[in-house]
């Protein structure tokens, strides 16, 4: 328990002194993971809603694929994104490897299936009569989808929470495509790995505490949003 107490003290000291560029690392973690979550929403919500609302051959196979994607190992995603972004790789012209943008791309790939899978479940769980009613009221397909998503907002916010949680906590992809470069691509998880490798356990515990506090703040904001909109 001493390690934890020391870590807590070290966390407060780091945040107060701003040593090791800890605020820069915190802000980058937040920026990368929030951007990745946003990108994953713009992909995952339409895909999830479409899978829930349309009927076409092979749909079950696609749903199964999305569900598999919900458990994609971050290190595998990091590896594939690296292979694509390498200077001599297919997308080498973009010069993105070892940049925060590459980290956003990899994390969006990790979060998108989670958002899609949970959106699919949320929309499919709605009462089918609601859909018929909306169509009967003359809603266009886009309007109908919009209202259904509104109706499913509680589980949809849970999807955002799950997507964000998956990416803020992952280290494999961030390390591989970011490179853990100080001042550029070092985020809380990769900094923690580095400090463990250096044997600086107090700093590693401190960074973990900061990461948990950050995740809690973001999730509190989402929870407030979720609960505030809840009307009887």
């Amino acid at each position: 328990m001493d390690d934890f107490r020391q870590g807590l003290a070290e966390a407060l000291r780091l945040l107060a002194s701003g040593e090791r560029d800890v605020w820069g690392v915190v802000l980058l973690s937040l920026r990368v993971s929030l951007s990745a979550t946003l990108v994953s929403l713009t992909i995952g919500v339409p895909v999830g809603a479409t899978l829930a609302l349309s009927r076409f051959p092979g749909r079950a196979l696609l749903v199964g694929l999305v569900h598999t994607g919900m458990g994609l190992p971050p290190v595998s995603v990091g590896l594939f994104v690296s292979l694509l972004l390498w200077r001599n790789g297919p997308l080498g012209d973009l010069r993105l490897l070892y940049t925060p943008t590459a980290m956003v791309v990899a994390q969006a790939v990790i979060a998108a299936p989670i958002v899609a899978g949970l959106t699919h479940a949320a929309v499919q769980a709605l009462d089918p009569r609601l859909r018929l009613q909306l169509l009967a009221l003359g809603a266009s397909r886009v309007q109908m989808t919009w209202w259904l998503l509104r109706e499913a907002r509680l589980p949809l916010i849970a999807a955002i929470v799950a997507g964000f949680g998956a990416v803020i906590s992952e280290v494999g992809a961030a390390m591989m495509v970011g490179g853990n470069i100080v001042g550029e691509t070092r985020v809380l998880t990769t900094a923690t790995v580095l400090e463990v490798g250096r044997g600086n356990y107090d700093v590693a515990v401190a960074l973990t505490i900061v990461l948990l506090a950050l995740t809690y703040s973001v999730n509190m904001a989402l929870t407030v949003l979720q609960q505030r909109q809840r009307r009887p």
Partner: protein
């Protein structure tokens, strides 16, 4: 400019000193990627790095022979140490050479933790087994597959022997019950070379950036910073600068004379 390097230069904190110095005096922005020496050379071979800083001489010589590098220069050295539990169950503290120490460990089947990750340290360890004439296998020989810091932690928990570069061991000795039991053998020299990557390896190798960083590493400023690095924290330097192989640690150089003092 991408620098592919071994983890010990990052974990020790040396890069945090050298990279900002270089960036201040040049127009290049350095992206240091810290991986094992094997992986660093692989990145160079694929043209995914512009300069490689490694400590795996045999692999580096193969790299050069295959034409993947243009220039290879000694930058600095320190030494490896064989560490183990204080009571030294295999009795390696009293044998003359590192190979004898390895033979003693194998003979008593005392637990040994290997990096197992194709790093420079792992390559050195395998060459020592070869010199000792032992093919390490059995439940006493374990592969950690992790970096030096984690491997030292595992050896500590299991009361096992392992090989570490002196810098990483010094940086972590406060939390370890392990002791340096065998040191000073010339076979334990740990020489770091910088290699500029051949532009033929890939379309986008930054030749100028790599060449500039190599020149910087060999410059008096950088060599001076290497000589001072670690003195404030450990009371002794972690690396000995050796640009131009003035300390004659490079075995590939035929003019090498016995080093005055290989151990820093």
């Amino acid at each position: 400019m991408i620098l592919a390097t071994t983890t010990s230069t990052q974990d020790s904190g040396l890069l945090d000193v050298l990279v900002p110095m270089f960036e201040e005096q040049s127009a290049y922005e350095v992206k240091p990627i810290a991986v094992g020496s094997g992986a660093a050379l692989e990145l160079g071979e694929r043209g995914e790095a512009d300069i490689v800083l490694a400590h795996s001489p045999a692999a580096e010589e193969r790299f050069m022979a295959a034409g993947f590098g243009t220039r290879r220069e000694v930058v600095m050295f320190n030494d490896f140490v064989i560490v183990g539990p204080e009571d030294d169950p295999a009795g390696i503290a009293t044998v003359p050479s590192a190979a004898d120490a390895f033979r003693a460990i194998a003979k008593t089947q005392a637990p040994f933790v290997s990096r197992g990750d194709d790093s420079g340290t792992h390559a050195l360890e395998r060459s020592l087994w070869e010199t000792a004439g032992v093919d390490p296998a059995g439940s006493w020989y374990q592969e950690s597959g992790t970096g030096m810091g984690d491997t030292l932690g595992i050896a500590n928990e299991r009361r096992a022997y392992t090989v570490s570069d002196r810098g990483t061991f010094l940086a972590q000795r406060d939390r370890l019950d392990l002791r340096v039991l065998s040191e000073g053998d010339r076979a334990l020299l740990n020489v770091y070379h910088a290699i500029t990557v051949n532009p033929d390896n890939g379309r986008r190798v930054n030749v100028d950036g790599g060449t500039a960083f190599l020149a910087f590493l060999l410059s008096p400023e950088a060599q001076g910073a290497i000589a001072e690095f670690g003195v404030d924290r450990f009371g002794e330097p972690l690396f000995t600068p050796c640009a131009g192989n003035v300390c004659a640690v490079d075995s590939a150089t035929p003019t090498a004379s016995p080093a005055a003092s290989p151990a820093p």
